[in-house]
Structure formats: structure tokens, C-alpha cells
């Protein structure tokens, strides 16, 4: 490139016009953010509409895809959900034991683990695991379909891509999450039991008796409600990022990262809302 042109570019970059353009970027970015938000709300609304159309038998449901995705987010996730929840239960018991033993209240570690696991940790940790595992998988799969023009090919057929691609994933993860939550609860309690019996020499029967006494149905209803909401949130976020990915390899990566980050942050934020509501209701 000729030197004169280089100089012209440098001068252009340094002109007051360029400086004046900077504040303009803020409203543009804000408008883009608001447009994205409006798009996400529209997407959220499409799910119940698609479900209603499905129930009215006006739409073809991709049953095979639904079964495949359900397998992917249930049976195939059992091991990682088990490992994470056993460890979380064990960590809670370990931390609790160190403090409670000082006051001769070691047996109450069962209360701590039972309540913490059933109210909070099983639902939250399982949702975080599913956001990283299944959410990432949903986003990457849909983003790759976007890159390969597969979603365009579905649109050409007049198929509603939200109903055809997002609905089976959202339904699968939403329905499976409460079951995974119960499984996670059992795993967490097992982790607590292992530490209590191994480190504190508590009798397993005493630990289990104390756990049963500490828990009530409200804890499980709250935990299951959370897991249902978390499953819906994680699946919706993943599908939204996947279906709105850029048509490139980088776009697939960005969609996957976005889905995992938004999924995890969303789960924690929603858990905070649940905590406030549960407190207000006296649960």
C-alpha cells in the first residue's frame, strides 16, 4: 500500500469524526442487547405455543430425537451426577463435622447434609453439571446444524424449527431433571454418610435416623421444583444459543460457551430467587 494511503488512514483514525463516533456505539450496543432480549422472550413464548400445537396434534413431534436426547441427558449422565453429588455431600459433611464436633454436636452433621443437599445442593449441582454437559451438547449440535445449513433445509420444508429442534430438547431435560435431582439427593446423602461413618465413627443407622428426622416433604418439593425450573432454563438457554449461532466454526464455539456460561449463571440467579420466595413463604 502506498505511503500516502497509510498516512491517510492514520489521519482518518485520528480525526474528531472518529472520536465523535465512540459515544454512538453505546446506544447501538444497547439496541443490539435489547433486540437480543426481545428475541429471547419471543423464543420463550414459542415453546408453550409449540407445545399447545403439539398437544392439539397439529404438529409432527420428532419422537426419535426426543428419545435420543432423553437418553443423552438421563442414562448417559448418571455417572457424572453420581460422582459430583457424592463429593458435594462428602464435602458438606467434612466441613460440618470439623465445626460440629467442637461442640459435641457431631450427629447433627446428618441434619446439615440432609437439608443442604435436598434443598439446595443436589438441584444446583446437578443443574450445573447438566449445563456443562448436556447444555453444551445441545448448543454445539444446533449451532453445527446452523453452520451446515441443516436448519435452513428444515425451514424450507415449512417445519417450525423451534418445535422440531428445541421442543424435544427442552421437554427431555425438563422432565428428566427432577429424577436426576432425586438421584443426586441419594448420592449426596451417601457422600455424607461415608464421611460421617468413616471419619466421625457415627453408626450408619444413627446417621440415617437423624437424616430422616431432619428432612420433610417440603425440602423435596422445593428441591424438585427448583430442578424442574433449572432443567427448563438450561435447555432453553442452550437451544437459544444454538439456534442463534453464527454460521462458522467460531460461531459453534461461541454458542457453546455462551450456553454454558448463561446456563450456570442463570441457575444460580434463579436459585437466589427461589431462596427469597421460600423465605417469604416460610418454607
Amino acid at each position: 500500500m502506498p505511503v500516502q494511503q497509510d498516512a491517510a488512514i492514520v489521519a482518518a483514525v485520528a480525526t474528531p469524526d472518529r472520536k465523535r463516533a465512540a459515544p454512538v456505539r453505546v446506544p447501538v450496543a444497547l439496541a443490539a442487547f435489547l433486540a437480543k432480549g426481545a428475541d429471547a422472550i419471543e423464543f420463550l413464548g414459542q415453546i408453550p405455543l409449540s407445545t399447545a400445537a403439539l398437544l392439539a396434534a397439529r404438529r409432527r413431534f420428532p419422537l426419535r430425537d426426543f428419545i435420543r436426547v432423553t437418553m443423552q441427558c438421563s442414562a448417559e449422565a448418571l455417572l457424572i451426577v453420581l460422582v459430583v453429588n457424592v463429593l458435594v455431600g462428602a464435602i458438606l459433611a467434612f466441613v460440618g463435622a470439623v465445626q460440629l464436633v467442637k461442640f459435641g454436636a457431631g450427629i447433627y452433621v446428618a441434619d446439615l447434609v440432609g437439608i443442604a443437599v435436598s434443598r439446595e445442593m443436589a438441584a444446583v449441582m446437578t443443574a450445573v453439571v447438566m449445563a456443562g454437559r448436556t447444555g453444551a451438547s445441545f448448543a454445539a449440535e444446533l449451532a453445527t446444524m446452523q453452520t451446515n445449513e441443516e436448519i435452513d433445509a428444515l425451514s424450507v420444508l415449512g417445519l417450525d424449527t423451534v418445535a422440531y429442534l428445541a421442543l424435544p430438547r427442552v421437554l427431555a431435560l425438563t422432565l428428566v431433571m427432577p429424577l436426576l435431582y432425586l438421584y443426586g439427593c441419594a448420592a449426596g446423602l451417601l457422600g455424607g454418610l461415608l464421611v460421617a461413618s468413616g471419619m466421625m465413627n457415627l453408626a450408619p443407622s444413627a446417621y440415617l435416623d437423624r437424616t430422616v428426622e431432619a428432612l420433610n416433604a417440603t425440602q423435596f418439593v422445593l428441591g424438585a421444583s427448583k430442578s424442574l425450573s433449572f432443567g427448563f432454563l438450561v435447555a432453553m438457554t442452550a437451544c437459544w444459543y444454538g439456534l442463534h449461532a453464527d454460521r462458522s466454526a467460531a460461531g459453534v464455539g461461541q454458542a457453546t460457551t455462551g450456553a454454558v456460561v448463561a446456563g450456570i449463571v442463570g441457575v444460580i440467579a434463579l436459585d437466589a430467587v427461589f431462596a427469597v420466595c421460600a423465605n417469604a413463604l416460610g418454607w
Partner: protein
Amino acid sequence: MPAATLALPAPSDRPGSGAPVLEVRGLEMRFGDRLVQQGVSFTVPASTIFAIMGVSGCGKSTLLRHVIGLLEPAGGQVLLGGTSYWDGDDAARRRLRTGCGMLFQSAALWSSMTIRENVCLPLEQMTDMDQRQRDARATEVLQWVELEAFAAFYPADLSGGMRKRAGLARAIGASPPLLLLDEPSSGLDPIGSRRLDDLILDVRQRTGAAVVLVSHELPSLLAIADDGIFLDADSKCPIGHGSPRQLLESGTNPTVKAFMHRERLPDAPGKAAP
């Protein structure tokens, strides 16, 4: 075999003699504020193979996406079988779209489905065939593109050329009156490319469909296209109309001449004498 739902004129044996299956009037295409092309007008009668030509990035594939309704034009009209696509409601648009078959540049086969399922899904959506009829039709079109032995394979198990042929089988399965082919020969060896050309001519011969074709491959364009349009990336409008052969023999625009004769543009870099 049930016909596609779009009411279109009967196919003609002579290329170019039928009423228009597709008519594009003064189309303007934009991405946000960026103009892609404007003033694009052409007509494609039944049994015609119409080529969209131009250098990379001039908006050829974008034009196909406007024709099939994946993108909304900034101006102008797209008429399918005489009906304006964007003037109708969603149901009307869906009906019009079922009269189009499209082969995407990447073939765009659904990766979670076998080749047979890929061919059957459009039949399920676009026709009233029952399962048995769909299977029979899928077998027929897969035999046509010589892929019947691969019906149970997944797209990832096929070569690029086979995927293109499977994509063509999927596009023609419901016998649409309008076929849109986005760079069907790209990435194929000369033999595979020629084979695909023969298939396209065969489809036209057998179904009387109008074919709109985006391609860079001159031998292919010269061999099969009856008519065409040349889009210019610089002026953002068409700069040539006519069959590839006419443009080759009598095209006067420097860009068209350079493209058709595979020459450098007059002001292109690297033109300096050795």
C-alpha cells in the same frame, strides 16, 4: 405419485417455452444497511435451467435464499407460479415453499437421519403419501442418483459427491416444479461434476421442473444452462443477461468477459507485464 401442492403451469418439452414458474421483479437485497444487489429481474419458465453467475461474494447464494423465502427482500417481488411470495400470509408462503426443492451448497443433509430418512421427511411434509408410498418414492429417487445401496447410511459416512447426489434426491423427491441448486458441482472432481450435470438434465427431462442454478463452473454452465443472469459485486446490480453461451460469445462487459473467458480483469492486481 401425488404432485407438489403449488399450482404451476404444465411442463413443456421445449426449454424456455412455458409460462414462468419463477419471476423476480426489481429485487433489492440488503444485510442491514449493506446493499448486496438491486434491480435484479428475471423470469424462469418451466423446463428451463437458469444460471445465476458472478464472482464470489456478489450475492448469488443470497439471491437463492430470497427466492426460497429464507430471506426477506428489501424491495421488489418474488413470484412463484404467479403468486407473490411475501404478499401472502404464513400458510400461503408455506404452500408456495412446498413447490420448491433446494440443494444447498453443503448439501445440508440432516446428520441425525439416514439418507432414506432425509429423502422421506420432505415427502412427509410436502405430500399426502403414506409410509409405504414414501418408502417406494425414496427408493426410486435414490436409484435415480445411484445411491440405493447407501439408503441406510448416515450423511457422515458418504463422500462429498455422494452427499450432493443425496441432497439432489431429497430436493427432487416431492417432484417440485422449481428446483434451486446452490453450487451443486463445488468440491467435485470433473467426473463427479459431469455426472451431476447429467442428473440435473435428467431431472429437467423427466419432471419438466424449472431449475435455478448457482455455479462458478464454466463447463457445467455452458453444458446445461439455457438462460442466466450475471451479478456484479462492484456495481451491485446485474450486468449481463442471457445463456452462458451467449455471454461467452457476445458479452461486452469487461467483468462478464473476464469471467466467461477466465481472464484477469483489466484493473486487477498482477496484470503488469512480466
